[in-house]
Symmetry: C2
Subunit: 332 residues, 2 copies
């Protein structure tokens, strides 16, 4: 399997990206990585590591797309950027998957423009796997489409279903609609209409899921528009961060609380691990005709390696082919 | 000051409501409370307490509106319900404020239908005060309007500004727009248009606030549509609850962690207090021509008493008159 990696994306690029790539080629057999970016910079960074040189090659790309650039404009103008070059490798069948920790907007716009959509999917969607109290769950869409139509949410549900069935081996995964209120008639125009459509589909639709219940992780796939999904995702991170930062400050405030903190270290560590997005790799961009993984902007080497692992799992489980088959079947 | 209280609203009514009322008349001078509900039931509950009998009267109301009833239908049909009777007291100038812990939908619909809107406010909005790391902040709207127009968000900002200036004595409070992305052009149609309008207003508009930053509480008033606001509010509660429940389970799992838990008890208690919505009373329903406070459905006596305290503060600070003046000024 060949994997294209945007060498210049993310807060800690290129070093965190390179570290993740080196760890990945050591850990996963049968993968080859092509890193895009300024050749001198990438090769200098790679020279710090010992690894099988046949496994990683560099594709020179001199431009960089920043987070504050207009995504579509940037993709159209910067065809020598590390993101564009990486996407092109998948487009030209020179790679089976592409991973970037860079500008989410540019990566998503580029994936749709350069690689293209799967036939029957109107809107590809960003679908991270989140840690829940009862197990991992997916939120789809988490920011690719700030505005959605009811039919988009049905397609999100179909793609999420394929993911849980084929990647996580969960038969008949549960599908929920994020909504403010548990009753069918609650919510805005989008959720009211989407509820009606979802109810008629032949999958395991469990109805509305209120935001309060989301962290419990009782439902496998949660569908919503990208504005709501992004809000849920960022609140999840923000509230957890605020709680732990505040607890830490309070624990450090006296001798007895410091001692308490030491005794509870295993609890906090386990908790951190259970609720760590880094364990889950990146967010899949589902609906594009190729494996696209958006790694978190703040990815360290380990998080980036896990994003690569996710691409490998997708490839091994033929997820693109399965989504295509599933969508065709539903359209028939 | 006379306060109308829906005696039958909330998960623990009537006893939590009555307890809150009794505590309130003991603590705040110059208030009289009229409790609506089945007279026999309310008076039986009241007989458990010692208090100044002149301060609390009962207005018989035999019907009850449940959470699962259609709000507007229920308000129209059940004119003898405890909620309706309480709202009517404000409408008829027999009370200066109304408080309910019952069906949010019925209370909001009833407030608009029975008491009516302030002239110039197209959509009244639910505006709870939330605990933030850097201080309390307001989210407006938190669920009264699942769909909003850009102008509604401007009016929400104006009402929030009045609240912070007159109730919390914060001069020139900061106003933020909840949005996915910090740049002006980010978001959906609503937030893009609202951003343009807010920028032109002569208040302290600080731009977009991403959900990740919300728990920090750096911005005083956060405006959004009711779907997004309700999602933020419920995620706040849900994530915090999941974290504390999980931590508690882990702490109870061994002797050393139990000991650590004992040593950290003051930390957890302080934390719980700092992040406790019960300290802040209820959520004000701003834009209605009378003081309307929605107490949390799970309010205990203390939370209900704090909701009454909030109504007193509103009255003492003449908030309705100030909103009227402010809106008229902006319309001129």
């Amino acid at each position: 399997m060949k994997i294209a990696v945007d060498g210049m994306g993310g807060d800690y690029s290129p070093h965190a990206v390179i570290e993740g790539c080196v760890e990945a080629v050591k850990e996963y057999e049968d993968i080859e990585i092509i890193i895009t970016g300024p050749e001198d910079l990438i090769s200098k960074e790679l020279s710090k590591y010992a690894y099988n040189k046949d496994k990683i090659t560099i594709l020179d790309a001199r431009e960089i797309i920043n987070n504050n650039e207009h995504p579509v404009m940037a993709i159209r103008r910067k065809k020598n950027s590390s993101i564009y070059k990486a996407l092109e490798l998948v487009k030209n069948d020179e790679a089976h998957a592409v991973i970037s920790a860079g500008s989410t907007g540019a990566f998503l716009a580029g994936a749709t423009l350069v690689i293209g959509r799967i036939k029957g999917v109107n809107r590809p969607a960003l679908a991270p796997i989140m840690p829940g109290k009862n197990g991992p769950f997916m939120i789809i869409d988490c920011g690719a489409n700030a505005e959605c139509k009811p039919i988009n949410l049905v397609q999100f549900a179909q793609m999420g279903e394929v993911y849980f069935q084929s990647v996580l081996n969960i038969n008949n995964p549960s599908i929920g609609l994020i909504n403010i209120g548990s009753e069918e008639e609650k919510g805005n125009e989008l959720t009211k209409e989407a509820h009606k459509l979802l109810k008629e589909c032949n999958f395991n639709f469990v109805g509305n899921v209120e935001p309060r219940e989301i962290p419990e992780g009782k439902v496998n796939v949660l569908v919503c528009d990208g504005f709501v999904g992004n809000t849920v995702l960022k609140m999840y991170e923000g509230v957890a961060d605020t709680i732990f930062t505040t607890l830490k400050e309070e624990i450090m405030s006296s001798f007895t609380t410091k001692l308490g903190g030491v005794l509870l270290k295993p609890v906090f560590n386990k908790f951190k691990k259970d609720f760590d997005y880094k364990e889950y790799g990146g967010a899949a961009f589902l609906g594009v005709d190729g494996i696209c993984i958006k790694a978190h902007g703040s990815s360290d080497g380990k998080a980036f390696k896990n994003a690569i692992k996710q691409a490998v799992t997708f490839y091994d489980n033929k997820i693109i082919e399965k989504i295509k088959g599933h969508i065709e079947e539903k359209m028939a």
